[in-house]
């Protein structure tokens, strides 16, 4: 039995695995947000199919799509044109009648989910009011000023704030007020009609209209496509701040000189307190269709669609967590990085590592994740390794590692999230040399030996070739 296989692995550099990832669902600092019960999504989609046309021309455009989005997440929808992104957004927003499947949207005022299947048009109106829509086209009324266009949205929801002040604040924050990005006075665009505004300014007014009621769900289609870098950053930062409160110091990092900001944009000093004033509520979830890399990099979840199907649904933090966990394990050193990533992606369950998984998550991705209650043994010393034996990466909870020597049980260590075990037996083909038992409720990602061997076999020839090149070079063997 290998002793090192089950021995506790040193903590990750920078303490990875021991600390929590910044969760989009953090409740601290959240005010006045009636969010769903802990662990429950703000949006739930199950088995959604959709068809266009009737009779012989009836064509299926969405195929059995299932997705959950947690409160406060920024979800990026990606995929080629015609893959069904927009259709699924319109179904979520209640803009189309749901034909097959289930969609539930959390209604903070109701304190419950609103189901969209079988809902007649008048009731869909109530669902639409929960949502802030940002369209690619601004669709402002030419006859109304910026303030009046925003007021059209404000009329739909009562607010404790002075409506005019709220509208002026958000327009000012979006650089349409009396101060520009360089903190110089400028003529405000409050009373401008769209004809007198540039394309980007119109889009910002439309964004202000979408966000003025602090919706709990934002559906956006290329929201920053028409915006300059500074305006784009202001929009994205506002969406993020509505999702979860950030430290003012953190925000001030975005107040930077133009040469430093480059194409990423910057905020003005005065925008930071204004942002705090506007975003008094948090927990806003956003689903954004975009190709803007500035937003892509901020995503909490990336949903990729192909030909009407959700092909991948990745919580970015979970992907990082698993990839980092595998990368740290010496057992995976023999596997090429891209193959490591494939293994990592194959075990993802689409739940943030800070959040507990539910039984339906396990059922949806069988064999990827196991849950153990306190006291349950995960690996027992002496167990024979076979094709079904697994490598484990702790997702949540704490385990203890102990070994029996001459009938005496000896606790070796305790391990928490981000730590792994079970890999040495893979490599050495020996029985387990220690017992791992759950101290708390434990969730572990698992990679079985068959999978491991498959990817290793793909990687080995490449590694062998690299080593052969080294050996044939200057004759200096690299061992």
């Amino acid at each position: 039995m290998s002793s090192n296989a089950q021995e506790p692995t040193p903590p990750h550099p920078e303490g990875r695995g021991e600390k929590s990832f910044p969760s989009p669902f953090a409740r601290e600092g959240t005010t006045n947000s009636r969010l769903p019960p802990p662990g429950q999504p703000v949006l739930r989609i199950r088995g959604v199919n959709h068809y266009f046309g009737t009779g012989d021309t009836r064509t299926q455009v969405l195929f059995d799509n299932t997705l959950e989005v947690m409160p406060g997440e920024m979800v990026i929808m990606s995929g080629p044109s015609g893959s069904g992104k927009t259709t699924i957004l319109t179904l979520i927003g209640g803009l189309r009648t749901l034909q097959e499947g289930e969609i539930e949207v959390w209604d903070a005022d109701l304190g419950d989910y609103r189901k969209l299947n079988g809902v007649p048009e008048p009731e869909l109106v109530n669902v639409r009011r929960l949502i802030g829509f940002i369209f690619q086209r601004h669709n402002l009324f030419d006859s109304l000023t910026s303030m009046q266009n925003i007021r059209m949205a404000q009329r739909l929801k009562e607010s404790a704030n002075d409506p005019d002040e709220a509208a002026r604040d958000i327009l000012t924050y979006l650089l349409l007020g009396e101060t520009d990005i360089q903190s110089k006075p400028q003529k405000s665009r409050f009373d401008y009609k769209p004809a007198k505004l540039s394309g980007g300014q119109r889009q910002r007014v439309a964004i202000a209209r979408a966000l003025i009621n602090r919706p709990k769900l934002v559906l956006a289609d290329e929201p920053t496509a028409a915006l300059d870098a500074n305006s784009g950053l202001a929009v994205v930062t506002l969406v993020q701040e509505l999702a979860r409160e950030r430290d003012e110091a953190d925000l001030r990092k975005l107040v930077r000189p133009p040469e430093e900001a480059g194409g990423n944009g910057r905020l003005a000093e005065w925008q930071v307190p204004l942002l705090k004033k506007i975003a008094t509520e948090h927990g806003t979830t956003s689903l954004i269709v975009t190709h803007d890399s500035r937003i892509m990099n901020l995503a909490d979840r990336i949903v990729h669609m192909e030909r009407g199907r959700i092909e991948s649904n990745v919580v970015v933090a979970e992907r990082l967590f698993v990839r980092e966990g595998l990368r740290q394990s010496p057992a995976f050193a023999a596997i090429l990085p891209e193959e490591q990533e494939k293994i990592a992606d194959s075990v993802l369950v689409g739940v943030h590592p800070n959040d507990t998984v539910r039984p339906d998550h396990l059922a949806a991705k069988p064999g990827c994740l196991e849950v153990y209650e306190p006291g349950q043994v995960i690996v027992r010393q002496g167990d024979v390794v076979n094709a079904e034996s697994k490598f484990y990466l702790i997702r949540r909870g704490t385990v203890e590692v102990f070994r029996e020597v001459n009938g005496v049980s000896q606790t070796l260590t305790e391990m928490g999230p981000g730590r792994y075990f079970g890999e040495v037996a893979f490599l050495m083909d020996q029985p387990r040399n220690a017992t791992i038992r759950a101290i708390t409720r434990v969730e572990v990602y698992t990679v079985n030996r068959a999978t491991f061997d498959k990817f290793r076999s793909v990687s080995l020839p490449f590694i062998e070739r690299v080593l052969a090149n080294f050996r044939s070079g200057d004759g200096t063997p690299k061992s």
Binding site: L95, F133, F141, S143, R155, N161
Partner: protein, 406 residues
């Protein structure tokens, strides 16, 4: 909780482009003028036949039930009419005589070339002391003069001479003015003063004479025995403070048994007369069709305006739907637009209509009058016209697909 003030979207959408809005308003205004003028002419036609009745200074009238119109000869017995005098609330009963068929007026000017052809004229015979006709411009002195047999008051608004170039200001009866001696029913008559009443379907003009002149000039040649046994209208004046309804009911009761006297208020008689002409001439159809045409034209114009407005703002309406506005709100916006168009078209339309009324009255002599009731009816038609168009256009806005905004 503070609620932002409503945005007058309908008004803003329409008034955003002022030139376009002016064109819209003029389109609706055109329909208003069309309806107003047609309706005005129709009413003028009917009104012209009731001017005499409206000039009667009495509350209740007694007529022969078989007298379908003033034009017809059927009279009511003076003896029977006099029986009403005992009824409580009745102050006086005065017979009024009207002759259409047997009387004619001809100008007998000294210069033979100025003499006119004989034309039928309406002759109204009244007791000059009884004060039964409201004829502005006719003084007490004129009424006294009228007591002299062979005198008459003439109608300055008799049908105009067709050749106004050579006969400026003249009527078809020639040049009528106080002091002129002419010929009524073949006998000399002297004109005392003029009044204004106008012509109608049955006559080209009227003269008013005393009952004695009426008897001698008009009746005696045709009714040898008891020429004044019947009058055309028994005009009932009431005591001050008497309730016309109660007196009318009492009179109806009084004459119910005989069935030879019909008791009506003056307004009833006006309605009865109009109804006769409405039913027995194509006035209603001809001008009613004109009003309908105006209505339809207005509806089409209004619908085009509203439908194009919806089409122009399709993405915006779709956006409103997408952000949570109901079909009911959008429909209300379209209906508001229709009401704004109604108001914007009605005001200038009625100004033009009023001007047209004055012009037509001046040209034709027809009494085109815009009463509050008629004003309200045109307003009502305009509103119904625009709202009906609005309701049609609502269908378009209801079909707006909010999914189109993505």
């Amino acid at each position: 909780m503070p609620q932002p003030p409503p945005v007058p979207l309908a008004w803003k959408n329409l008034a955003h482009d002022k030139v376009r809005f002016a064109l819209f308003a003029s389109g609706i205004g055109f329909a208003v003028v069309l309806m107003g003028v047609q309706y005005g002419i129709m009413n003028a036609m009917l009104d012209s036949n009731t001017v005499l009745i409206e000039r009667l200074k009495g509350d209740i009238v007694l007529i022969n039930p078989n007298k379908a119109s003033l034009l017809f000869r059927e009279g009511v017995s003076r003896r029977r009419v006099a029986e009403a005098e005992g009824i409580t609330g009745v102050k006086s009963i005065t017979p009024v005589y009207v002759e259409y068929s047997t009387a004619s007026l001809r100008h007998t000017a000294n210069d033979p070339t100025n003499r006119t052809n004989t034309r039928r004229v309406r002759v109204i015979g009244v007791d000059p002391n009884a004060d039964v006709l409201d004829l502005p411009g006719v003084t007490a002195e004129h009424w006294r003069e009228l007591k002299t047999p062979g005198t008459a008051l003439y109608d300055r608004k008799s049908r105009a001479h067709p050749d106004q170039t050579n006969h400026p200001g003249e009527t078809v009866f020639g040049k009528l003015e106080p002091g002129v001696r002419t010929e009524l029913a073949g006998r000399d008559i002297r004109l005392v003063a003029g009044f204004e009443m106008g012509f109608d379907f049955g006559t080209d003009g009227s003269v008013v004479v005393s009952d004695r002149t009426f008897e001698k000039w008009v009746r005696e040649p045709y009714y040898l025995a008891e020429p004044m046994a019947e009058c055309d209208i028994g005009l009932v004046k009431l005591d001050p403070g008497a309730d016309p309804k109660a007196v009318k009911a009492a009179l109806q009761k009084k004459f119910a048994e005989g069935g030879d006297v019909l008791v009506l208020t003056r307004d009833d008689l006006v309605s009865r007369e109009k109804s006769f002409w409405w039913k027995n001439t194509p006035i209603g159809f001809a001008f009613g069709a004109g009003v309908l045409l105006g209505f339809v034209v207005g509806m089409v114009i209004c619908y085009q305006i509203l439908a194009s407005d919806v089409a122009d703002h399709l993405p915006e309406y779709a956006t409103l739907k997408a952000i949570g506005y109901s079909n009911r709100y959008l429909s209300w916006v379209v209906l508001q637009e229709s009401l704004i168009l109604a108001a914007a078209g009605f005001v200038p339309g009625m100004l033009v209509t009023s001007g047209t009324y004055l012009l037509l009255t001046e040209i034709t002599g027809l009494p085109l009058v815009l009463t509050p009731g008629r004003f309200s009816l045109i307003l009502g038609l305009t509103v119904v016209m625009c709202v009906a168009s609005g309701l049609l256009a609502v269908g378009k806005v209801k079909k707006v697909d909010p999914a189109d905004v993505f």
